[in-house]
């Protein structure tokens, strides 16, 4: 197990390198650059700007400089759009925000989703199941760009209970709506996967054997059924975890939270090369690490899985 983990961590380095190189070339292949604007700049001005940001260098040189700055100085370069800030600033400002509401949303979605799914499966085809299923469908049917406006209309305009947006250091009043909006649709999906996985497990031979042995139902579920049930849920949660941690662009747009999700999407649209690369590296590292953790978790959930 340990050697597998070490091996995976070693592979992570070339993986992220490939990601950076691929993203770098994709980025430069996309039409328009950071300084393409409605008002085309005179050539001499454009030349100055390109010289300042090193964009006049050959691509391989730009890539090399970029990578060596990261390795030597942990410097991810300047933002081409937000001239007062560099990428380190942008990530260190936005990521803690995304992390806070993302992690909370993840917890809420997972806990509520798994609970709903398990309860529904255990009480299959009873009214409890129907309620849980309806809740799951309702959660799934309300995408966050409907949830956003509905929440703000309800809690800010009509009830006047919560501020309509902002972050303010992450006080709870500012967290409630982003967390609800971000967690609902995942909650629906998680409960859905959990429910059917649990149903499948409860129908399987080894559970029937356990039942035949006369074990109490509670014990069967907790001791035997829970782990295999969660296996597909864990695979689904991996990418979801990364996605909510790097922030949802919808949350940042509707609630002005200032998280990283918006910077990520905007940097691609504005061709803010360094920001896009920087956030992609963060995103990639998280993906690699989280997928490693889920892979290790598989072995814990099912001891027969070995690497």
């Amino acid at each position: 197990m340990l050697s597998y983990t070490i091996r995976r961590l070693l592979i992570a380095i070339p993986t992220i390198l490939i990601l950076v190189v691929a993203c770098f070339f994709l980025m430069h292949a996309a039409p328009g650059g950071p300084f393409t604007s409605e008002r085309p700049l005179p050539p001499e001005v454009l030349a100055n700007i390109e010289a300042r940001y090193g964009l006049d260098q050959p691509l391989w040189k730009q890539l090399w400089d970029y990578l060596s700055n990261i390795v030597l100085h942990f410097d991810f370069g300047p933002s081409f759009v937000f001239k007062d800030r560099d990428v380190n600033d942008i990530i260190s400002q936005g990521f803690p925000i995304s992390l806070t509401y993302g992690f909370l949303s993840f917890l809420v979605a997972t806990i509520v989703g798994v609970t709903l799914g398990v309860v529904a499966a255990i009480r299959h085809n009873t009214w409890i199941d129907y309620i849980a299923v309806s809740l799951g469908i309702a959660a799934q049917a309300l995408p966050n760009f409907i949830m956003g406006p509905i929440l703000i209309l309800t809690f800010t305009l009509w009830l006047g209970w919560l501020p309509g947006g902002g972050w303010n250091g992450g006080q709870w009043q500012y967290l409630v709506m982003p967390v609800i909006a971000l967690s609902t649709s995942y909650m629906g999906s998680i409960s859905r996967i959990t429910r059917s996985s649990m149903l499948e497990v409860l129908n399987s031979n080894f559970i029937r054997t356990a039942r035949a042995k006369g074990l109490p139902e509670r014990k069967i579920i907790w001791r035997h059924a829970m782990k295999p049930t969660l296996l597909p849920v864990i695979s689904y949660l991996g990418p979801v975890f990364v996605y909510v941690l790097t922030g949802s662009v919808f949350v940042d747009i509707y609630f002005s939270t200032g998280g990283l999700g918006k910077s990520y999407v905007n940097s691609a649209l504005t061709r803010d090369y360094a920001v896009l690369l920087g956030v992609t590296i963060l995103y990639g590292t998280l993906t690699v690490v989280v997928n490693l953790i889920t892979d290790l978790a598989y072995a814990w959930f099912d001891p027969k899985i070995r690497y």
Binding site: I18, L26, P239
Partner: protein, 283 residues
């Protein structure tokens, strides 16, 4: 197989949902016959005061009301539902095929192949979708086919991870080991034993993907790839309606959302029924 069909037809919820889905398709096919306005025509009179003249009414011929531009939501919803259903189903089918194969290969053979395949997935999960879509647009141009390529490019990744995990768990089960000991070929084991046992998870996840695809399409169309005006999709209609929901024109959200929710519900129960029906129970 007959067993599976019988089991499926015994599942009442699934049958009801099959009927609903059939009705939706029927509506998409026959609905235009009853429309007074086509999906692109602007009702210039209604445009003057949408909140009053654009309300759903049999009389004006706008059964579902009009959008902010005075276009008939009835016709637009029909066209959008057809488009989105197709996008959802084809996109999901692509994800199912590619994701399942990828995941089974990685999980079953393990080792270096697993490592390569899964690192590719890691990379693709982290590459900014916006860039990929823009490049597809530039290289291949705007069309329905490129829309599906873009949708397919992103949708199979999570599927492959789920399938791989299940395969990892399955391949060490007694019945697989027994088959292997009995000299059954690897390909046979995959097709006979692994794939049927994966179907449950794959179908459930696929039923979740359908609504996801419907919204992924509206993001991709935002970037200029895929569906363009005057054609529309449920994702586009719903996000437009969501923006104006406080302005007294709630029908602009309600009708498209109704069809979307109907699709989500039918997918849920049909997926459930299929999962039940296809469960081999031989583990």
């Amino acid at each position: 197989m007959r067993d599976a069909r019988d089991r499926f037809f015994r599942n009442k919820a699934a049958i009801v949902c099959m009927v609903i889905l059939a009705l939706i398709i029927l509506f998409v096919l026959l609905g235009p016959q009853f429309a007074k306005w086509n999906n692109e025509e602007i009702d210039w009179a209604a445009l003057g005061d949408i909140a009053v003249l654009g309300v759903p009414s049999i009389e004006s011929g706008h059964y579902f009301g009009t959008d902010p531009l005075g276009r008939d939501i009835y016709s637009r919803t029909i066209q959008a539902t057809g488009t989105s259903l197709m996008v959802g189903l084809i996109g999901t089918a692509m994800a199912m095929i590619v994701g399942t194969l990828w995941g089974v290969l990685a999980g079953y053979f393990g080792g270096r192949l697993d490592s390569i395949l899964m690192r590719i997935v890691d990379i693709l999960l982290a590459i900014p979708l916006t860039l990929v879509v823009i490049l597809i647009l530039v290289v291949a141009g705007r069309s329905f086919v490129t829309l599906f390529i873009a949708l397919g490019a992103v949708s199979w990744l999570t599927m492959s991870r789920i399938v791989r995990a299940q395969t990892l768990a399955l391949k060490n089960r007694e019945f697989i080991e027994a088959a292997r000991a009995g000299g059954v070929s690897e390909v046979m084991i995959i097709f006979r034993h692994i794939l049927p046992n994966l179907m449950g998870v794959v179908i459930v996840y696929a039923s979740l993907l359908v609504p996801e695809m419907i919204f992924a399409e509206s993001l991709i169309s935002f970037l200029g790839l895929g569906i363009s005006e005057p054609y529309t999709s449920l994702g586009a209609l719903i996000s437009e309606g969501a923006g104006t929901m406080a302005y007294g024109t709630l029908w602009q959200l309600a009708f498209p959302l109704f069809f979307y929710i109907a699709i989500v519900i039918t997918m849920f129960f049909i997926g459930d029924g299929l999962r039940d029906a296809l469960d081999p129970k031989d583990r």
